[in-house]
């Protein structure tokens, strides 16, 4: 009996050492045949049981079966190990340079003026304003007369104008859209009108074509304080939450009282710097309480309703916001400049 048991130990030791040396799944399978196959060593051992006294057979049989199970499990483990090795090798072989660029198209960009315009519109939309557009080539009637500027009004000199005919022109502001809105809707009106406007100026801070966002509120009990609160909201959103605004008296034919609106310089926050010419303030827009004549011309009773209006230049705000020194850069359309603007609308 001890002879057989020794033999079993021998086989187990042999299997263990051979398996540890096998680096191919084929070798492992060869081992399985050699040890556990029909004419394998362990199988032969089992056959030789008939030569053993019957009372010892169960014990020996158990030992042989345990050895078989042990070898089977060693083989499985080895195969799993080899499989994992193989996968690791493959993974290693399939390594790529992850620093190379991705496929598919790189995202493009929005023009900075679009970004600024949309940012302004977002604030106003959140305050209940709807967005309206109108024609860029306008009648003198909507552009001037409805804005309390009859022909030969001296304030027309404030806005030099491109004319198509004596009665048709390139709009000098988006105010005519407001007149068109008042024609088709009744108060309460809260509307913002973005769009291109035209004036014959061309230098570092003026372009013959530029974009405006103008707005109009007509309702009962609207005050100059409401204008200030609304514009404060926009200024804080556009620049930063510490931004303050101030009113300076001014004149526009379509508003009364009229104000120029300054914001604290977004660069120095009011301390005074090169951008704000040391004043701490930057002029960004014009505004005021809607002139009763403008309401009356639109069929709205100024004794019942009041309102405010404002207008800002998108290019000018873009220049302040992004630190662009010359307005003409915005119209150069150099891809390298344009690609720098990452924001979404």
């Amino acid at each position: 009996m001890s002879v057989i048991s020794e033999k079993i130990q021998e086989i187990l030791a042999y299997a263990k050492s051979r398996l540890e040396e096998s680096n191919e799944a084929g070798d492992v399978n060869d081992m399985r045949v050699r040890l556990l196959g029909k004419s394998g060593e362990l199988t032969s051992l089992l056959r030789s049981l008939k030569d053993i006294p019957p009372e010892e057979r169960p014990t020996i049989g158990k030992l042989v079966n345990e050895a078989r199970d042990s070898i089977t499990s060693m083989i499985e483990l080895r195969l799993a190990f080899l499989k994992r090795l193989e996968l690791e090798r493959k993974t290693r072989d399939e390594r790529i340079d992850v620093t190379l660029g991705g496929k598919g198209v790189a995202r493009g960009s929005y023009h900075p003026c679009t970004l600024v315009r949309e940012e302004i519109l977002r604030v106003f939309i959140s305050l209940g304003f709807s967005v309206e557009q109108g024609p860029e080539i306008e009648s003198d009637y909507y552009n001037f007369q409805r804005m309390n500027m009859p022909k030969d009004h001296p304030a027309r000199d404030m806005q030099d104008t491109f004319y198509i005919t004596p009665d048709v022109l390139l709009r000098t502001h988006t105010s005519p859209v407001q007149a068109r809105v008042m024609d088709k809707s009744k108060p309460p009106i809260r509307v913002v009108c973005p769009g291109k406007v035209y004036r014959p100026d061309d230098d570092a801070t003026h372009s013959p074509m530029f974009q405006q966002v103008e707005g109009l509120v007509v309702d009962k009990d609207i005050t100059l304080c409401d204008l200030k609160g609304t514009l404060e909201c926009v200024a804080k959103e556009l620049f930063d939450s510490k931004t303050k605004i101030r009113f300076r008296p001014s004149y526009f034919p379509f508003t009364e009282p009229s104000v120029e609106v300054d914001v604290t310089c977004p660069v120095c926050h009011g301390k005074g710097c090169r951008i704000c010419k040391g004043t701490g303030w930057i002029e960004v827009l014009g505004a005021g309480v809607v002139n009763p004549e403008v309401l009356r011309a639109s069929g709205i009773d100024p004794d019942v309703y009041s309102g405010f209006a404002f207008g800002m230049g998108v290019e000018r705000i873009a220049m302040i916001k992004y630190g662009i020194p010359d307005m003409r850069i915005l119209f150069e359309n150099d891809v390298r400049f344009l690609s720098g603007f990452k924001e979404e609308i």
Partner: protein, 796 residues
């Protein structure tokens, strides 16, 4: 409007500095563009007298002077030769600063100490008209001065004023005068406004009517005309204070009579004209419209041809002045003038403006009239002028000035309430404070509790309604007292963009996602655009809108297509050696269709170049946009002249409406922009996309049964398009054929000759059963037959 501090002080007590005053003016709506302190330019220059002159021991051209400057005697070395002992001269002492910024220091000249410099007129910034002798080359000799030696030269020259350049807004015509600004200053300082001295005594022996009669033919254009005669005129220079003030505000002094008219214009804001009495033929002044092609030589020496919409001042025989614009050369003041007729009139603002523009002739007078002169100023103006004639002793004033003034405007009454004013402002201005402010602006206020009735002063034509009053109150109460509120009393409204604007945003988002950079180009283009794009003469793109007053010929037409702009932007990037570009723009195009306003629509333009770009990359972007709008578009070969004939397509919606195009730019066009690379562009009408959009989702049951796929390759002639093959297959395939797509196009001259082989994938599916081979093969037979009969296609 330039005013001086001293001039303002004639009318209001000012006890703050010019800088403080400027600040207060800004806060009440008058931008002060410049503050010029006359004394700031010259510092440390005093009056001195040359006591002795000796030769310099080591220099032939230099002399050594002893100069008495009151407190001491300075030794000064100079090279000037126009000086003599006893001459009074300006002396720049050690540390002095001259108008050009030059600083004078003591030093040695050829070994001899020199403690200052004697100045020339030029070095003090003076010309001959500023000071007699200032134009001479050499030291300025001031022997006529009687001021003590050592007196600051600014005091000698009368430089004791500060000039404020005030921007006056278009509504405040009344503030285009010293008196007008003084009125605001009085309100700012809450002090009374002193009126100018208008007194004079007339000669009992003569009347204006003895010399001239006035007839106003057009009272629309001339609501008021005053005339006053002055005889025994002595033309001479004006006194120094008038000359200095005029120079300070930028007007050249000429002679007493002319200076008086300019002084009154600046001080009162009333343009005046003085006619030489001798030149008024028949003693008749006719204010009338000019005859067509009537001519006049104006004071500028140029001849102007008038028209019947212009107002003139004529005598019995000829035009003597263009009303409100400029006098005639034939009747102006001369050296030997002995009698004058002063004109002080109100001419209609629009008429002066039109005439001035029409003739291309502007003057201080026309500029002033264009800003609005009210009916109260004519009398103040003429009386002030006569007062000055008397003060200067330059003539004898006739009695009974003529005043043609038929329709006196009624005083305006604004009836409202203090609570209404506060309601506009949103600020509780105390009632007494509001009334005080209005009264300080010389507005008559009758108050009955909350109710007020306001009568503005005559000059304030801008005060028409309660909003105007509210502005006056807040201007002086202070804009800093306005606190922001958020329309708490207003009705809540729903904000947002309509679908049309949202569609533009969608197009932009798709373009950005596809890698395109947004550009911004001018709406105006050159008329050469049509030639560059090789458009035939009858092309619709020619019907562009033209500007009457463009900034230049190359920006004189409103564009009818974005093609030109996108191509030139691609070109400008290409020429900067940028190797790839993908650009887009959303902008308007404008067509003159004969209506009052041109037709305007919004377009998208795409443009691209670079090694990975071709027709299909641009088409991919367009297709994506079409998918987003649910539009099933067809792509048909395009005939646009500026595109490559074989590589361009019109984008056509169901029903044949052309929405735009895609294509490679014609080589001749890109060559015109000096571009050698292939450029690809596309244009889409966004208004049409919006109109043809089909974006409503309709639920459709997805089939549970598996599809059956078949591939087929068909050999056809080169000009049989994929679209035609697919259409034929779909027609023959029946309802079970769900999808057809091309997966390969194969050309091989040896195997196929000039033909091509197109490989397609077909997907059949039924909603109610699994399809069998039998179901498919009959359909495939029909398809093959159709491809053969319709397109001459042969299975490969």
């Amino acid at each position: 409007m330039k005013v001086t501090l001293n001039w303002l002080k004639d009318f209001v007590d000012i006890d703050i500095t010019a800088v403080e005053l400027a600040d207060r003016l800004v806060n009440t709506g008058f931008e002060v563009e410049e503050i010029i302190d006359q004394r700031a330019a010259i510092k440390g220059v005093v009056l001195g007298r040359i006591e002795s002159i000796v030769r310099h021991p080591d220099a032939d051209k230099l002399v050594i002077c002893k100069v008495d400057v009151g407190s001491e005697v300075l030794q000064i070395v100079t090279g000037a030769s126009n000086i003599a002992e006893g001459d009074v001269v300006p002396v720049a002492t050690d540390g002095a600063v001259l108008p050009d910024g030059k600083r004078i220091k003591s030093g040695k000249l050829r070994g001899v100490a020199s403690c200052g410099m004697m100045c020339s007129g030029e070095e003090l910034g003076l010309s001959e008209s500023d000071y007699k002798g200032a134009g001479v080359y050499g030291i300025l000799i001031m022997n006529g001065e009687d001021k003590a030696l050592g007196t600051d030269i600014n005091d000698v020259l009368g430089y004791d004023d500060v000039i404020l350049d005030v921007a006056v807004t278009a509504n405040r015509g009344d503030c285009n005068s010293v008196l007008g600004i003084a009125g605001e200053v009085a309100a700012i300082l809450n002090k009374p406004l002193k009126m100018p001295d208008l007194s004079f005594s007339a000669d009992k022996a003569s009347k204006t009517g003895d010399y001239v009669s006035v007839s106003v033919k057009d009272k629309q254009l001339c609501p008021r005309y005053m005339a006053a005669a002055v005889t025994d005129v002595k033309i001479a220079p004006s006194p120094e204070y008038i000359r200095r003030r005029l120079k300070a505000v930028g007007i050249r002094p000429i002679s007493n009579l002319v200076d008086i008219t300019n002084y009154v214009l600046t001080e009162i804001g009333q343009p005046m004209h003085a006619f030489d009495m001798r030149d008024i033929d028949g003693g008749k002044i006719n204010v009338r419209r000019a005859l067509d092609s009537e001519k006049i030589v104006a004071l500028d020496g140029k001849e102007y041809t008038l028209s019947s919409d212009m107002l003139i001042i004529a005598d019995a025989a000829k035009p003597c002045a263009i009303a409100g614009v400029m006098g005639g050369e034939n009747s102006g003041i001369r050296e030997d003038t002995q009698g004058v007729i002063f004109e002080s009139a109100k001419f209609a603002r629009d008429s002066v403006r039109r005439t001035s523009r029409g003739l291309g002739l502007r003057s201080d007078s026309s500029a002033r009239y264009e800003k609005g002169v009210d009916c109260s100023l004519q009398e103040i103006g003429v009386r002030r002028a006569l007062h000055l004639v008397q003060e200067l002793g330059c003539g004898v004033i006739a009695q009974d000035m003529i005043d043609v003034f038929d329709n006196k405007p009624k005083a305006r009454r604004i009836e409202t309430s203090l609570s209404r004013i506060n309601g506009i402002l949103g600020v509780d201005v105390p009632a007494d404070e509001a009334v005080r402010i209005l009264a300080a602006l010389r507005i008559q206020v009758e108050r009955d509790g909350d109710k007020i009735v306001c009568i503005p002063p005559e000059g304030r034509e801008d005060l028409e309604n309660v909003n105007d009053l509210a502005e006056e109150v807040i201007r002086f109460y202070g804009y800093d007292k306005i606190d922001g509120t958020l329309m708490e009393k207003g009705k809540q409204t729903v904000g947002g963009k309509g679908l049309r604007i949202a569609d533009t945003d969608l197009v932009k988002r798709l373009c950005v996602a596809a890698g395109y950079n947004e550009i911004l180009t001018y709406s105006f283009v050159s008329p050469k655009m049509c030639d560059v794009l090789m458009l035939p003469e009858d092309d619709a793109l020619h019907s562009s809108v033209e500007l009457l007053n463009p900034l230049g010929e190359d920006v004189s037409r409103m564009r009818t297509t974005l093609a030109y702009s996108i191509i030139s932007t691609l070109a400008s990037n290409y020429l900067k050696s940028i190797h790839t570009a993908r650009l887009y723009e959303v902008a308007g195009v404008y067509y003159d269709k004969g209506a009052e306003l041109p037709e305007q629509s919004e377009r998208l333009a795409l443009g691209a170049y670079g090694k990975d770009e071709d027709f299909y990359t641009v088409k991919g972007v367009i297709e994506n946009i079409m998918r987003a709008f649910g539009i099933d578009a067809a792509y048909e070969r395009s005939t646009l002249p500026y595109l490559h004939g074989g590589r361009s397509a019109d984008i056509v919606a169901a029903g044949g409406k052309v929405l735009g195009y895609i294509g490679e730019v014609h080589r001749d066009v890109s060559a015109a922009f000096n571009v050698e690379e292939r450029l690809y562009i596309a244009e889409l009408d966004i208004d049409m996309l919006h109109k043809y959009a089909r974006r409503k989702y309709v639920f459709e049951q997805v089939s549970k049964f598996p599809p059956v796929e078949r591939d087929l390759a068909i050999v056809v002639e080169e000009d049989v398009s994929a679209a035609k093959i697919i259409a034929a297959i779909k027609k023959a395939g029946g309802g079970l054929l769900k999808e057809v797509s091309v997966f390969d196009v194969y050309r091989n001259k040896l195997l196929l000759g000039e033909k091509k082989s197109v490989a397609l994938n077909l997907v059949f599916r039924a909603d109610d059963k699994t399809l069998t081979d039998a179901d498919i093969s009959s359909r495939m037979d029909r398809i093959t037959e159709k491809l053969h009969s319709e397109l001459g296609g042969v299975l490969r």
